[in-house]
């Protein structure tokens, strides 16, 4: 399942600070389950940050990003109420997105 996401977008001096948390196992494909079977690769590959509908960051990542990924990005300027959206897509085609207004 696509677990919860949490985002906080706040104004800092001259930029908007976006911190986003994603629930995801980020399996490396090299770990064994308690029953001895290998757990298959399962990881987020793409993430996108949008401000008021416009893409500002496109990220491609590997299974070496830690479980339950946490990212921070910075966007120049910004104003209270700007709509920030973050979405991800993993190697199984699962996706999730979250949205919040700059505080």
């Amino acid at each position: 399942m696509a677990g919860p996401m949490k985002m906080r977008a706040t104004l800092a001096s001259g930029y908007t600070d976006v911190r986003v948390l994603m629930s995801h196992p980020m399996e490396t494909g090299q770990r064994k389950a308690p029953d001895g079977k290998m757990i298959p690769l399962h990881f987020i590959q793409n993430l996108t940050v949008k401000v008021n509908g416009k893409t500002v960051v496109e990220g491609q990542i590997s299974q070496a990003v830690s479980r339950n990924p946490v990212f921070s990005f910075r966007i120049k300027g910004g104003a209270k109420g700007d709509k920030i959206e973050v979405s991800w897509l993993d190697n199984r085609g699962e996706t999730n997105r979250t949205e919040s207004a700059v505080a």
Binding site: T28, Q60, V65, S66, V70, F71, L89
Partner: protein, 153 residues
């Protein structure tokens, strides 16, 4: 949730058929690209080649903030800032990981060339950050030591 996934897979399967017919490009390609060759590369040099960033020039304008020693390799926080004007992309590579490329981030429309993330490190290794600005590539390197401490190991 499983149902949802099954549906997605079904949809993907259907899409696959359409794809074969050459009518549509895959959704992933439309929505996002993922540089398979670069991520599958087993050395940092090969990964950089696949990214089109071979032989980057050393730069002290790329700032890597990371702990000198990480107590646990499962979570190693890394913060990267490029002070090079016109930076459009930042790639993070862990030299000694089985697949060194951890991520590549493209910045546009006012996003600052900055990213903070947690990465997995199998052992003590150099971390390389490559920034692209104006079609040229720059690199900074920093070593992070990894100790897996704790009880009962």
């Amino acid at each position: 949730m499983n149902d949802r996934r099954r549906e997605w897979l079904k949809a993907a399967g259907a899409l696959g058929a359409v794809l074969v017919a050459g009518l549509l490009r895959p959704v992933a390609a439309l929505a996002a690209t993922w540089n398979k060759d670069a991520f599958a590369a087993k050395s940092a040099a090969d990964a950089l080649k696949s990214l089109g960033a071979s032989d980057p020039a050393a730069s002290s304008d790329i700032v890597i903030e990371a702990p000198q020693i990480a107590e646990n390799g499962a979570v190693v926080p890394i913060e990267v800032t490029s002070k090079i004007a016109g930076t459009t992309s930042i790639a993070v590579l862990i030299e000694k990981n089985p697949f060194p490329l951890v991520g590549k981030f493209d910045f546009m429309e006012g996003a600052l060339p900055f990213v903070k993330l947690n990465v997995k490190m199998g052992e003590t290794s150099d971390v390389r950050v490559v920034a692209t600005a104006g079609g040229r590539n720059y690199v900074a390197t920093r070593e992070i030591k990894v100790t897996i401490g704790g009880c009962g190991g």
